[in-house]
């Protein structure tokens, strides 16, 4: 009976397997649902809210909602695009995202999703928070100004690398990424640029040193085609313009 296990996504029938989320089933069917904190290699986190879809009329995160028989899911609607754009705008004003001065620009998932949802300007009042830059590690740098608290580095370091280097501390607007050493410095950890945690950041918060601006403008990952066509920078091989070090 597995052939009957399906839901509709913008009217299209999408099959799913037991335990799959709407996001996972959509991904398997080749349908793009915008997302930032979701990465198919990790357990869903549900924190960025960019993947909000309408399930039987109710707005829910596609990455954490289990797929169920008979669901009518809406994804590409004007209303959801508005909501997603608003979330992106809030993410932009909450940190310091200076694209012209960022090495990740052009291959940044935050930027690419913002392009995808048609964000022209941040709209809200900027917070201009004062956050540090940690360049203590010889091979990598953390710019906390660009962190969107997706916890992908936290998950990767804990679940794949087995190093537990990152954590999110504080609540609400006080929530921030910390490095698990007494000094709080990345240089004091056994972090390596070959770690999974070095390859999953959707923004320019965690960068490999000595490799900045390697690819000319016009040839970068998201310069010509949208993220819905290209895919996520973190899941693409380095040979395809992703930022993995395999």
């Amino acid at each position: 009976m597995s052939a009957d296990r399906s839901f509709t996504l913008d009217g299209r029938r999408v099959p799913f397997q037991d335990g799959q989320t709407i996001m996972a089933a959509a991904l398997a069917a080749g349908v793009y649902i915008p997302h930032l904190c979701f990465n198919p290699e990790f357990a869903p986190h549900g924190s960025c809210r960019v993947c909000l879809v309408k399930v039987n009329g109710r707005v829910q995160a596609a990455c954490t909602t289990p797929a169920a028989v008979g669901q009518a899911v809406q994804n590409e609607t004007g209303e959801l695009r508005e909501i997603r754009r608003g979330i992106l705008q809030m993410l932009f004003v909450e940190g310091n995202h200076v694209c012209p001065a960022c090495e990740k620009s052009g291959a940044c998932q935050l930027q690419a999703v913002a392009y995808y949802v048609g964000m022209l300007a941040p709209h809200y009042t900027h917070f201009y928070p004062r956050r540090p830059v940690d360049a203590s590690h010889p091979e990598a740098v953390i710019d906390f100004n660009r962190c969107i608290l997706c916890e992908l580095c936290v998950r990767a370091s804990r679940d794949v690398d087995g190093k537990n280097i990152f954590a999110v501390q504080g609540r609400g607007i006080q929530a921030h990424l910390v490095v698990n050493t007494p000094s709080g410095k990345l240089g004091a950890t056994d972090f390596s640029v070959t770690d999974k945690a070095a390859q999953v950041c959707p923004t320019g918060a965690i960068l490999t040193k000595h490799r900045g601006y390697e690819i000319p403008i016009g040839q970068r990952l998201y310069d010509r085609k949208p993220i819905s066509v290209v895919g996520d920078v973190a899941t693409l091989a380095e040979s395809k313009g992703g930022r993995r070090h395999e």
Binding site: V98, S105, Y115, G118, A121, P122, Y128, D223
Partner: protein, 180 residues
């Protein structure tokens, strides 16, 4: 009788004139544009007094008291006001000074800078006072349209201006929307 020309004013606040350079990158298309528009106050005309305009294009954010004054004057004189480029939209590179107190910035530049002779912080009354922080335009006045880019390409400016002047809904192709 031919249609009256659309009056456009432009200015650069806390910007680098890169957006104006991009406007000049329209190249031959400038002739076509010149048939439809007339420039009022702009770095390209050197007219000092802003007249009543249909369209105001502003690059750069707001970093000092003079910027605030000029921006409010543009808002009062322009029917449609457009923020152009990263600095106008989010403060851009100049807003990176928001990470520091103004005093720290001035001391770093004028007291501790390399090769300074007789270091002192400029305080001539003719120099506009700096604001504590650099702000994007929409935090000071109502902005009608936004065109991102650092700078927006000439193609993006061309698409935007054409759609705006012909009353079409604004819709930039994917390759013309970028934040850098």
């Amino acid at each position: 009788m031919s249609e009256p020309k659309v009056k456009i004013a432009t200015c650069s606040l806390a910007g680098c004139f890169g957006c104006h350079m991009s406007l000049l990158d329209l190249d031959e298309r400038l002739f076509e544009l010149a048939e439809r528009v007339e420039l009022d106050r702009s770095p390209l005309t050197d007219i000092k007094e802003l007249g009543n305009c249909d369209l105001g294009l502003i690059e750069g954010g707001v970093c000092n008291a003079e910027n605030v004054h000029v921006l409010m004057e543009f808002r009062a004189h322009c029917k449609v006001l457009v923020a152009i480029g990263a600095c106008a939209l989010n403060g851009g590179v100049p807003a990176m000074r928001n990470q520091y107190d103004l005093k720290e910035c001035l001391e770093e530049s004028y007291l501790r800078g390399i090769g300074l002779v007789n270091p002192q912080i400029p305080n001539d009354p003719e120099i506009p006072l700096l604001l504590n922080q650099v702000h994007p335009l929409h935090e000071v006045v109502k902005i009608d349209y936004f065109l991102p880019g650092c700078p927006p390409s000439a193609d993006a400016i061309w698409t935007f201006v054409n759609q705006l002047l012909s009353g079409q809904p604004l819709a930039l192709p994917y390759t013309q929307i970028h934040y850098d």
